[in-house]
Amino acid sequence: MAKVLIVAEQRDGKLKKSTFELVGASAAAGNETHVALLGEGVDGLAKEIGQYGANKVHVAQNAALKLYNAEAYTAVLTDLAKSLSPDVILASHTPTGRDFMPRLARRLDVGLASDCVTLAFEGNSIKVRRPVYSGKATAEVEFVGAGPRLATIRANALGVPKPDAGKSAESVTATANLGDLKTKTTDVVKGASARPDVTEAAIVVSGGRALKSSDNFKIIEELADTLGAAVGASRAAVDAGYRPHRDQVGQTGKVVSPALYIACGISGAIQHLAGMRTSKTIVAINTDPEAPIYQIADYGIVSDLFTVVPLLTEEFKKIKEH
């Protein structure tokens, strides 16, 4: 059994599913599970965290923590880690978690295993494996020296457990000693899209160069919206200007592992496969039966995507209605 500190992630007072993955995994392993919750006016969220099996939620609230601020987060978490002395500190490998965890590692003078896709608790330590070369291989991480073991875990890697309304956590106030901040976050500008982020979505529908234009991505978007999915794109489609870079899946874009990945008009260049091969179920739609994407696809449809994709949207609508 280990003493585990998990850094919860919230945006606009809403907890991320990836936080529940970490809390659930730690609690299921029988660990003494502590959660750090940072923000302003977020103390009400402690109850929800408790339902996933946390023992104690340490709530740090301050106006400077309302928006994510790397320096403020690092200061609060360093103090908490030093007073709590956990064996393990975990955060999700999100734009927030991946930003502050290296800083926390440095303050504690320990190593960090980032973007891990497997996590096992062993005694008071962890065993983790992470992709290297964007998933063309994986490696186990060995921590050198003493001190807490730090890791960030990829979203969707562990799975979200079911909450138990009968469970609750003790909630305590953590001191928010922010010191002198050289950095301030002045605003958050929302994205124009209501779709989920490609790294967080349970389903991703991606389009490649075969879409031929940004307008044609409309059929991809319609399929995605029917499924509540994110829209992704290959590097070729991004470089051609059909989609913004933030949608790019692959070695020089996002690495995703959704439950379902639908690749439309994507041949499957090695650098694209690196970004999505850990998806649980992969569907490929491509006119070329020899396309490399079929080597990793669970289901393939060798047909023109402009014909098949709208038909799929209609079929999915039928089962959604039932």
């Binding site: 050289k182 002045t186 080597q295 079929e315």
Partner: protein, 257 residues
Amino acid sequence: MNLYVCIKQVPDTETKIKLNADSSGIDPAGIKWILSPYDEFAVEEALRLKEKNAGSTVTVISAGPTRVVEAIRTALAMGCDNGIHVEIPESADNNFAAKALAGALKKEAKVDLVFTGKEAIDDGAAQTSQLIAEHFGMPCVTVVLGAEYGATSVKCKREVEGGAFEMVETALPALLAAQKGLNEPRYASLPNIMKAKKKEVKLLKAADVGASEADQKIKYKNFQLPPPKQAGKKIAGEPAAQAKELVRALHEEAKVV
């Protein structure tokens, strides 16, 4: 302005990764090494800032084995003025490399801004930028997609999830980690390629910059290639029948919809 770019040399994205005999790492045979793609945006940003501020210099620094000098020359060919190579072992982790890079920066008379790529595409750890800043003692903004430079501060647009941006203002000196889209990196010109070949790249040893094996905090071991996937099922028939069968299979067999 005294501008710095910390870069990494990585295997080309098209590289097929093979493991070495005891799976303790990858087989380096046949790898084509390149400047990590996100670092190109860092180099370009420093060069653009130099062009707007007369009398500025851009120094490119890389930590690693001797081969990384090639990546330094790539950056010099894009227009950087000086190159520094800090020699550390192939096996050095993010913290060891960051301590070495920060140590090299500390030896410089004045540092106004340091640029890096938001991550290197080999280990993809996205740690070294923040660690350099921590070792040096300066603020750091990661995943920067836009920046407005003032005399004593910089306003950054930081990309986060869902297409949203955090607007972050930080005091100088600072480190900015570039995201693709920050700018459009230039191609090296032939005269600059020729000049870059002749430029002296200053060599520093780890001990010169206060870094050592003691800074190694993690090691990678037991490398594995992804398990081969079983060949999937190609769904036959007319498009309408294919669509119907796929949706049925995803719903009833894979149970993902």
